[in-house]
């Protein structure tokens, strides 16, 4: 293992997050089992008090989790100098087979974490703990995922050895190679461009429908998720080329480097934020019938939908402007 301060910070963070979430999951499990709002017993009062503990633990853990996604990518990026052939995070992550799975697990837990925080926020709007069961059920899904991610990250970071020969981002994302990343680069811009703009249009249309007629929340959520995936594929397929002004450089991580003005942070930040807000809209929609949330929930959904649309718009505006202003023409 490389004793880099960033690696130590990551290990510490995942250890803490796992600890907090495991504790919260155990409390959540007890709450799910013994919850009875009608009862005024001591046990129920104690459980109600414990909901505060769970939400404090989880809210803190999830904020750490979201921050650690960026720390992870940045650490992988700063480690690239220690691997022959690695030119950015793409090479460091390929240094052993656990790099990319860790990144994907981190992304998945961040999305779920965001959704959980939205559910929690909605739950606090009603007086009678209206979402307590779905909230803790989701928590019980989240806990094993985070533990798995901690394990993957440990395997990845502990297995890193300086000087391991790895493929650099140029060859990994180059044409004519097998593997997930190579396939993304292989998607021709001719196909990806219309797909991206159609998905964007559909998302906007679904948003308008949702905000006007208050219908299609689930479809909107699915489209938000689709927009995230299509956008990442499009970034690798053609948006990156315009930003790097190089027709062969497909790497999605170099965007985060100083050379490109850290443009990757707003790009991925808006994408991730938009997807979380969009997913939240659909996740909340089955609970609109709850009496105590009848007033607050539609308002919250509208706010989330607006955030998702605005963030998607900012993302598209950023990459679109780059595409127009870039001296590179495909």
């Amino acid at each position: 293992m490389i004793q880099h301060p960033g690696i130590l910070a990551l290990l510490l963070a995942s250890g803490l997050v796992s600890l907090l979430l495991a504790a919260a999951g155990w409390q959540g499990f007890r709450i799910l089992r013994g919850w009875n709002l009608q009862s005024g017993s001591d046990a129920q009062l104690d459980l109600e008090r414990r909901t505060y503990l769970v939400s404090t633990l989880v809210a803190n853990a999830l904020v750490i989790q979201i921050l650690s996604l960026f720390l992870f990518i940045f650490t992988a990026d700063s480690l690239h100098t220690q691997f022959v052939g690695a030119m950015c995070a793409a090479g460091s992550l390929a240094a052993n087979p656990f790099g990319y799975p860790t990144l994907l697990a981190k992304l998945a837990t961040c999305l779920l974490a965001g959704v959980w925080l939205i559910l929690h926020r909605a739950d606090t709007q009603g007086r009678d703990y209206p979402l307590i069961r779905p909230k803790y059920a989701l928590l019980l899904v989240l806990v094993p995922l985070v533990l798995a991610e901690t394990w993957l990250q440990w395997r990845y970071l502990s297995g890193l050895k300086a000087d391991v020969l790895t493929s650099c981002c140029g060859s990994l994302f180059g044409q004519g190679r097998q593997g997930l990343a190579a396939e993304l680069a292989g998607l021709p811009p001719r196909i990806m461009q219309p797909v991206f703009w159609i998905t964007f249009g559909a998302l906007m249309a679904a948003g308008a429908l949702l905000l006007r007629a208050r219908r299609g929340a689930v479809a909107f959520s699915l489209l938000s998720l689709a927009f995230l995936l299509v956008s990442v594929a499009s970034l690798i397929s053609f948006f990156c080329l315009y930003i790097y002004e190089l027709p062969t450089h497909h790497c999605p991580f170099c965007l985060l480097q100083r050379e490109y003005g850290f443009v990757g942070y707003p790009i991925y930040g808006t994408l991730l934020g938009g997807a979380i807000a969009g997913l939240g809209v659909g996740v909340l929609s089955p609970f609109r019938a709850r009496k105590s949330l009848a007033e607050a929930l539609p308002r919250m959904q509208a706010r989330l939908a607006w955030s998702a649309l605005i963030l998607a718009g900012i993302f598209t505006l950023m990459v679109g402007i780059w595409m127009i202003l870039s001296p590179l023409k495909l």
Partner: protein, 378 residues
């Protein structure tokens, strides 16, 4: 102002005033916290600055150095091999270099002697680095004496002291003409210490290195990128090692913080009881405690980072210089170039504020959910 913002502001106001009410106790906490941040921040900044220096130093190093190995040891190599290497496609220039180390028994330091082809340097004269001039207490025009291979002292005139700006590289350096280096070390003509190879396209270096090893199996090419990688690995390793050593300090601080947060004074319990009985919810009290924690953490974090910045960049990290830089008699005197980036601050934040926050969560919850009547009665 919008009501939620107003609410946060009021709670923050209240948090500040309640922190001020218990000045002594919170000041002790902030001091210890600041100290922990200061130690870790100094380390992280210092390691980062050293890595940066190494990177900038090596910008002017040759792309590749080729050494000859005899029985696993570095040996002078025939200068004629330079011609053969120059013929390899992609090689732009091959420069035979002549250098060595000289141990000075009087001052107890190791000097680096190097030949320069600069014609401004007269025979029997030397150019010396600032560190050499300082240690030997000589200046331009003075004479220095170096013992040759046979043990006989040779006198050289100091023609120039190299400028201070280059001190990090040239502190222990003595430059002399190739003829003087050969006679001092008894190096025969036709032998060089090593070869410096420059390639037109740096991407071809690994291929060129492979070809050199194939043609001359007794040589060892060392790429600049390899040196750089090794430096980074060593500095990271040293920094990480120190962080691990200081982990015990962080751990004791966490226990201290946990203890502080758990041991609510009777007065504090009463206060929370009163707040709750006048209509504050548990969530509000949690928020209040969260703000208190945030104020303490941010104050300590900022204070620690600023102190560390001053320590590293104004006072050259006097406290851990020797642990991190290595040990030598002839240390270059230099001031590190201030370099700070968001990444280091984030790492520091993760290493200090996160454990503190995690340790205080449960005590805070316990305080916030206490029953008002029980709290006031106790």
């Amino acid at each position: 102002m919008r009501p939620p913002v107003q609410r946060y502001r009021n709670i923050l106001d209240f948090a500040l005033s309640s922190l001020l009410r218990r000045k002594g106790r919170n000041l002790a906490l902030i001091c210890v916290y600041t100290l922990v941040v200061f130690v870790l921040a100094s380390l992280v900044f210092f390691v980062q600055a050293l890595k940066r220096e190494a990177r900038e130093l090596l910008v002017h190093a040759p792309d590749m150095v080729v050494q000859r190995m005899v029985a696993g040891r570095h040996d002078p190599m025939p200068a004629a091999q330079a011609e053969a290497i120059r013929a390899i496609r992609g090689v732009e220039e091959v420069q035979p270099r002549l250098w060595g180390y000289y141990y000075d028994p009087v001052y107890g330091g190791n000097l680096t002697l190097m030949a320069t082809s600069d014609t401004a340097l007269a025979a029997d004269s030397v150019w010396i680095g600032q560190g050499v001039a300082r240690t030997m207490r000589v200046q331009e025009g003075d004479m220095i004496s170096l013992r040759g291979y046979a043990g006989l002292p040779t006198l050289f005139t100091v023609q120039k002291v190299l400028p201070e700006a280059s001190e990090l590289v040239s502190s222990d350096l003595i430059l002399m003409s190739p003829r003087d280096v050969r006679s001092l070390f008894n190096l025969p003509e036709g032998l060089a210490t090593d070869l410096a190879v420059t390639a037109g396209n740096p991407r071809e270096l690994p291929t060129i290195a492979a070809k050199i090893v194939e043609r001359f199996p007794d040589t060892r090419p060392i790429l600049k990128s390899e040196i750089l990688r090794t430096y980074e690995a060593i500095f990271d390793w040293r920094g990480g090692l120190m962080v691990v050593v200081f982990a015990s300090a962080v751990l004791s601080f966490i226990i201290f913080a946990w203890d502080k947060a758990t041991g609510l004074s009777a007065e504090e319990r009463k206060e929370i009881g009163i707040l709750k009985s006048i209509g504050w919810e548990s969530a509000d009290v949690l928020l209040l405690k969260f703000w208190e924690g945030a104020v303490v953490s941010l104050t300590a974090f900022l204070g620690g980072v600023l102190l560390a910045y001053a320590h590293v960049f104004f006072f050259s990290a006097t406290l851990f210089e020797h642990a991190l830089k290595g040990w030598s008699v002839l240390f270059p005197r230099y001031r590190l170039v201030p370099a700070l980036d968001g990444y280091q601050l984030t790492v520091l934040f993760f290493l200090t504020v996160l454990p503190y926050t995690a340790a205080t969560l449960v005590p805070i919850w316990r305080a916030a959910t206490v029953d008002p009547d029980a709290a006031m009665r106790s």
